[in-house]
């Protein structure tokens, strides 16, 4: 189930609205979550703007964006806590936009956990099962508490648990219902860094174990990259780019993605086609890039390169023709962070570029004021359309 099957939209599709449960399409039990042209307006404010999104069944999907970008609103529309102003939410091909939250096969782990304070951990986890008179509630809850490693805590109240434990109760409470989609609304936001790391690995393990579609909303790009198979980067109500974490990182298509997901050096230049490669004039120097990593092939562009792809050499060092080389830099700031050293290099035209170098110990690090040249391989550069804000998405990451 890795490819999204294309489903017919029948003429009678709209009959699914109004609360009654539509027939599951084509006999498949579970399927992809699909958002079609979904728009949500609060008054005149557009929170989500004509969003199209397909989340393959069984995937770990992350909606990444800064606060206020519409990612939580999107999640709440899938959960049924908000109604789309326009558009449809489909699950396994059937329209669930009109269904009340309690009729959707979807469960949520809330940012605040929203555990029931008057119930024990056991009863919190059993809450969703109590709608039917099941006999093996006790066994199911036991299994679920074991999955989140809280077997000993069944009779405690939520207030008696730590933040991480509460988070796991919230997860167990949602997972026990075997939803078709599990929604996670910044579930790790309230935890400290170390616990967050541990829970990221834990969440990924649980998702691999239960094979339920997880839709994870977060503003933490590292968290999204650690866990998700697919990331959709959202900005101002629209998805800027969607793809595998590595693809998004290596091949950003907008300045927002380039800056929000990790950091980027963006250089203005003029591109022209040169055989199999693209040549870019940047402040008099000719840099090369490959078409596979370029959104544009000619005209005004921004050439981007990740700080860790750049290495520093002495201005006097011999030229290696394979590399892009940008000369005339002066080191203005050096910060040593253990595994790497981060440099700020001021270029002759005033722009400051970032360089991260691994502390391999092959040569001593540069001191502030050193004259250096910047080198990187042509295939590590990416080209973006110049008509965007170069600072978009920079500094939004709260981590």
């Amino acid at each position: 189930m890795t490819t999204a099957p294309i489903r017919e939209t029948h003429g009678g599709d709209m009959t699914g609205r109004g609360g009654e449960k539509p027939e599951p399409g084509g006999g498949q039990q579970a399927g992809d979550l699909e958002l079609r042209n979904v728009t949500k307006r609060f008054g005149s404010f557009v929170a989500v703007d004509d969003l199209d999104l397909t989340v393959p069944h069984g995937s770990f999907f992350a909606l990444l964006g800064a606060s206020g970008c519409g990612k939580t609103t999107t999640l709440r529309m899938v959960a049924g806590l908000e109604r789309p102003t326009q558009g449809q939410v489909l699950l396994g091909g059937s329209d669930i936009s009109g269904l009340k939250p309690y009729k959707r096969p979807v469960n949520t782990v809330f940012q605040s956990y929203a555990l029931f304070p008057h119930l024990t951990v056991f009863e919190n986890v059993a809450f969703g099962l109590r709608r039917t008179k099941g006999s093996d509630i006790s066994r199911k809850v036991g299994e679920m508490l074991e999955l989140v490693q809280l077997q000993e805590y069944g009779q405690r109240r939520p207030a008696q648990l730590s933040g991480g434990q509460q988070q796991r109760v919230a997860l167990a409470r949602a997972l026990i219902n075997r939803p078709q989609v599990l929604l996670l609304d910044e579930p790790l936001g309230a935890l400290d860094l170390k616990l967050r790391r541990a829970m990221q690995i834990e969440l990924k393990r649980i998702q691999t174990e239960v094979r339920i579609t997880f839709v994870h909303v977060t503003h933490d790009q590292e968290e999204a990259m650690t866990m998700a198979d697919t990331i959709a980067v959202m900005n101002a109500g629209v998805v800027e780019q969607m793809g595998h974490p590595a693809e998004l990182y290596e091949h950003p298509r907008t300045t927002f993605v380039a800056n929000f997901l990790g950091q980027s050096n963006l250089l203005e230049g003029q591109a022209r086609s040169a055989g199999a490669e693209i040549e870019v004039d940047v402040q008099g120097a000719t840099l090369r890039a490959v078409p596979e990593r370029s959104s544009v092939g000619s005209g005004p562009v921004r050439l981007g390169v990740r700080p860790e792809k750049v290495s520093l050499v002495d201005s006097s060092a011999p030229v290696d023709g394979q590399l892009n080389r940008l000369g005339g830099g002066v080191v203005t700031d050096v910060s040593f962070v253990g595994v790497s050293t981060q440099y700020l290099v001021r270029m002759p035209w005033g722009q400051e570029l970032m360089v991260f170098e691994q502390n391999t110990g092959q040569r001593p690090s540069y001191a502030g004021g050193s004259s250096v040249d910047l080198c990187w391989r042509p295939e590590h550069a990416f080209l973006l359309d110049a008509g965007q804000d170069a600072k978009a998405g920079a500094g939004l990451d709260a981590v």
Binding site: L81, K100, Y102, A114, L115, N177
Partner: protein, 302 residues
């Protein structure tokens, strides 16, 4: 020295003695004196006096003076004569409490969750009647429910209602008056406990397949229980002992225990029986409250 004697031993072993003396000076005990004196003078002393006068020789009078003779028969006689009135008082108080709960819960819920910027105004509206005297408000009900009043006239003109409909001087009027007068005592504790509730819990309940009714019964109501218990107690207890509403809105056949006690004390001069009724009333209510609180499972409230 007595102050230090109350310190738990572990604290003594952890911190040096001198420090403890600094923190737990006699100031706290001095501050308690006004309250203690107040309680002793105006609660303990009257209670003891009341209990004592309930055992007076019933032949005593204001003229001849009273004798404390451990006359327990006061109780059996009072109960034999006034048991139906006791029962009626509790019945009316119970009815008024139920009415208050049914009216007060939606009101408190609306103020807590739906009022938005009108919240404070609505709270003021709940409390505003207190700015007028209890008596004046109850007299207004007398006017409202009178035979020539708007309500009775309108109702009588309806086809299914008998033309000689009376509302004033009926149990209905007494219960209405009680419910009206004690409604704020129901709404405020309910509001306090609902207001503390995180509305996201209802979203979570809905997300976990609970329909709105289900979510109310399984989340809202249990979380509002401290308010329900406090509100029902604050309504029921004063309503059971109330004598104004019955005096102004009732008739001799709707007499409540409060009226009876008042009449025995002030008009009949039967101090012994009146005291016996008062003590019985107090004991019965304390017992009922204990059982109720135990059953409602909110021991942490008291």
């Amino acid at each position: 020295m007595t102050a230090l004697g109350h310190l738990p031993t572990p604290a003594n072993t952890v911190a040096p003695e001198r420090d403890e003396g600094h923190r737990r000076g006699p100031a706290g005990y001095l501050l308690m004196i006004p309250g203690t004196v107040w309680l002793a003078l105006f609660f303990v002393l009257p209670t003891v006096t009341l209990a004592a006068s309930s055992l007076y020789d019933p032949s005593g009078s204001l003229l001849n003076g009273y004798q404390m003779t451990w006359h327990w028969q006061n109780y059996t006689e009072a109960l034999r004569e006034y048991a139906p009135i006791f029962l009626r008082s509790f019945l009316y108080a119970f009815a008024a409490t139920v009415v208050c709960l049914l009216l007060g819960f939606p009101l408190a819920y609306a103020i807590a969750f739906k009022a938005g910027r009108w919240k404070n105004l609505m709270l003021v509206a709940v409390i505003a009647p207190f700015f007028t005297s209890f008596l004046v408000r109850t007299l207004s009900w007398k006017f409202l429910l009178s035979d020539n009043g708007f309500i009775v006239q309108t109702l009588s003109s309806l086809p299914a209602v008998p033309d000689d409909l009376r509302l004033l001087a009926t149990p209905f009027a007494v219960i209405t008056g009680l419910a009206y007068n004690f409604l704020p005592f129901m709404v405020l504790p309910l509001y306090a406990s609902l207001e503390k509730m995180d509305p996201r819990l209802l979203e979570a309940a809905g997300d976990l397949y609970a329909s709105p009714v289900n979510g109310f019964l399984r989340v809202t109501l249990p979380l509002a229980m401290p308010g329900v218990v406090a509100g029902t107690l604050l309504t029921f207890i004063p309503a059971a002992g109330d004598f104004i509403n019955d005096e102004l809105l009732g008739n001799p056949r709707t007499r409540m225990i409060g009226n009876t006690i008042q009449q025995l004390f002030l008009q009949a001069g039967d101090v012994a029986t009146a005291s016996a009724l008062s003590v019985t009333m107090m004991v019965v209510i304390v017992l009922m409250v204990l059982v109720y609180v135990r059953k409602a499972g909110t021991e942490d409230l008291v």
